[in-house]
């Protein structure tokens, strides 16, 4: 089911959850007083009894979900990305990942595009935390269609998953003929001067920046990483042999997320990498209040900022 309208990941998540819950009575959703914002509450359209309100208590929610999962349930747990990964990190570590239970941790309103609520509510290190956990798979869908694919992948594959979901609306960004395969990076475009590695809805701005650079005579490629862990080392290493410059673009701290994963892969890679790697993201600072667009601009994550960053590096190389 592909859409052409603008859509946020969280909306497509809610819709997909209803479908899954209709097919499988073992699927439950929990939330901490944000169910309408995270869209997890929509599971009640399939079955009101399979939404469990946990009050404002993220730690209790994760451990309770783990207890249900040990009994064979598939539990989607929900809150804002920063709270569910930060506040209940230890519960995810000890009671979800260590026993390898079927809990799907869904972090909504992720990144700086969370917007006006400011630094306290913006998750810029959730991927860093979740990547570090053994047994955890980390998915960062770029658009609505990919969100549906990610939710289905999390549902169909047993074990702990982290789904990084956004409230930032984009039109469909990934062409329909590009296959979604868990753990495989998607080559969206080939070029020769710069390769952008993108993750999440910021892809919208990467696509625009790439076009602008192409028009200026700089040939750019784009690869989309929807599975941050396990990271597609093989593809990224092989691409690093073909480009002189790689820029990772993420709506996340440059520490521990996409940029780090790519750097690790290339540094330990074939040894034949031509590319020099630069990380564009939140540069080890906190966010602040503002609209999504204003914040993307401030952090050079809008198309204009990405173009400038790329040109500056190219000049200096």
């Amino acid at each position: 089911m592909y859409t052409i309208d603008k859509e946020a990941a969280r909306d497509r998540y809610g819709k997909t959850l209803i479908e899954i819950a209709r097919q499988d009575e073992n699927v439950f959703a929990m939330d901490c007083d944000l169910g309408r914002s995270t869209r997890a509450f929509r599971i009640t359209e399939a079955d009101p009894e399979r939404f469990i309100e946990m009050g404002i208590a993220e730690q209790d929610m994760i451990s309770t979900a783990a207890g249900m999962a040990v009994e064979g349930r598939t539990v989607f747990v929900n809150s804002f990305a920063i709270f569910i990964t930060g506040r209940s990190f230890d519960q995810i570590r000890q009671q979800v990942c260590l026993p390898n239970l079927n809990v799907k941790v869904c972090g909504s309103s992720s990144g700086i595009t969370q917007g006006p609520d400011g630094a306290t509510h913006q998750s810029i290190l959730d991927c860093s935390l979740m990547r570090s956990l053994p047994n955890m798979t980390v998915l960062v869908p770029a658009d609505g269609n990919q969100t549906e694919q990610a939710v289905m992948a999390a549902y169909e594959n047993p074990g702990p998953f982290y789904l990084r979901l956004s409230r930032y609306e984009t039109e469909p960004l990934i062409p329909e003929d590009i296959k979604y395969e868990l753990g495989k990076a998607q080559i969206l475009k080939k070029g020769s001067d710069i390769l952008f590695i993108s993750s999440g809805p910021v892809l919208k701005h990467v696509l625009e920046a790439s076009e602008e650079l192409d028009n200026k005579g700089i040939s750019t490629g784009i690869v989309n990483v929807h599975t941050l862990k396990p990271f597609d080392n093989e593809r990224i290493i092989s691409l690093s042999e073909n480009y002189p410059l790689i820029i990772t673009v993420e709506e996340h701290s440059i520490i521990g997320g996409l940029g780090s994963a790519a750097a690790e892969a290339i540094a330990e890679g074939s040894g034949k990498a031509r590319a020099q790697l630069f990380r564009l993201g939140v540069m080890d600072t906190f966010g602040e209040s503002g609209t999504a667009e204003e914040l993307l601009k401030k952090h050079s994550l809008d198309s204009g900022g990405i173009v400038q960053f790329a040109q500056k590096i190219q000049r200096e190389l």
Binding site: E49, I52, M54, G55, A57, Q59, D60, I62, S63, T64, A65, A66, G67, M68, A69, V70, E71, G72, R73, D90, Q91, R93, Q94, Q95, L98, P99, N100
Partner: protein, 285 residues
């Protein structure tokens, strides 16, 4: 005449049952000491203080055995104070779930008997705990899932008295009560000491009965080393149909080995060879 006879038979049966449980208690204490022998560090105090409680739950109350340990409707015991898991290992060995000779491998590299509960490694354990405060939430999840299938097995959760300083315990206590999970019973091993000092000196936790009552629970207080008192209270817990129950059990840290009793100093401690031999002698192993 008839009633007097009946009463006498009941009394004798009770006495016999209590003697059986006391025998288990001694076997478990000996199991804990021999598991660590000398020169191997362990949280002796908290493992020894909860022996009567764990014994009564497993051998007097629970429907749990090697045969039914995968039955979804089995009763469950969750050691939320995960550092006392050796007591549970000793029980699982008496139940034939862990071979007795395996007990000595505890905490060794490659062992199934980890320092804190690992449900993927050890058969018979119900919950991953160790980082404190998470066992009751996990129990709530099991109870919610069982309820969905129309089951309500008894679920016992043993908390440490230092452990209740963790905020998550009270989040979970709210959840148990909010969702009327009356098949859950918390037992607090009130041994008065935690890792670095007395509980009252570190961070006061009393009044515990009032706290649980205020959270919508039915509270009890027992002598945690009096088997008859514990069993009677567990019978009362069984009869309570509307509320979850909290049993605050007054215990002695290090119970059964004179030089380990009532001090925090042996919370995590290696026995010397002399101390080990004294302990074995005192317990009559």
């Amino acid at each position: 005449m008839y009633f007097a006879l009946l009463k006498m038979v009941k009394y004798m049966l009770n006495n016999w049952k209590i003697q059986e449980l006391e025998k288990r208690v001694q076997e478990i204490r000996c199991g804990i000491i021999s598991m660590f022998s000398y020169g191997k560090a362990h949280h002796f105090g908290g493992s020894l203080s909860c022996v009567e409680l764990v014994t009564c739950v497993y051998f007097y109350k629970m429907n749990f055995s090697k045969e039914n340990m995968h039955d979804p409707n089995r009763d469950r015991f969750i050691m939320s104070k995960g550092h006392s898991v050796p007591t549970q290992y000793a029980v699982l060995s008496l139940l034939g779930i862990i071979p007795q000779k395996e007990l000595a491998t505890i905490k060794q590299i490659g062992t199934r008997l980890q320092g804190h509960p690992d449900i993927l490694k050890t058969p018979g354990l119900e919950a991953p705990t160790g980082s404190l405060g998470q066992g009751l939430s996990f129990a709530n999840g099991i109870a919610l899932s069982c309820r969905k299938d129309g089951n309500a097995p008894r679920i016992f959760v043993l908390l440490g008295d230092g452990e209740v300083q963790e905020g998550q315990v009270w989040e979970a206590a709210m959840t148990t009560s909010h969702y009327s999970l009356s098949n859950i019973c918390v037992i607090v091993d009130r041994n008065k000491f935690q890792s670095q000092g007395s509980v009252s000196g570190m961070m006061e936790v009393e009044p515990l009965e009032d706290k649980f009552t205020a959270f919508g629970w039915k509270s009890f207080r027992v002598d945690g080393h009096d088997i008859s008192d514990i069993c009677k209270t567990l019978d009362l817990v069984d009869r309570e149909e509307n509320k979850p129950c909290a049993v605050i059990a007054d215990t002695v840290k290090g119970k059964g080995i004179s030089f380990l009793e009532n001090t925090y100093k042996y919370h995590n401690y290696k026995l010397s060879e002399d101390e080990y031999l004294r302990a074995v002698k005192e317990l009559g192993c």
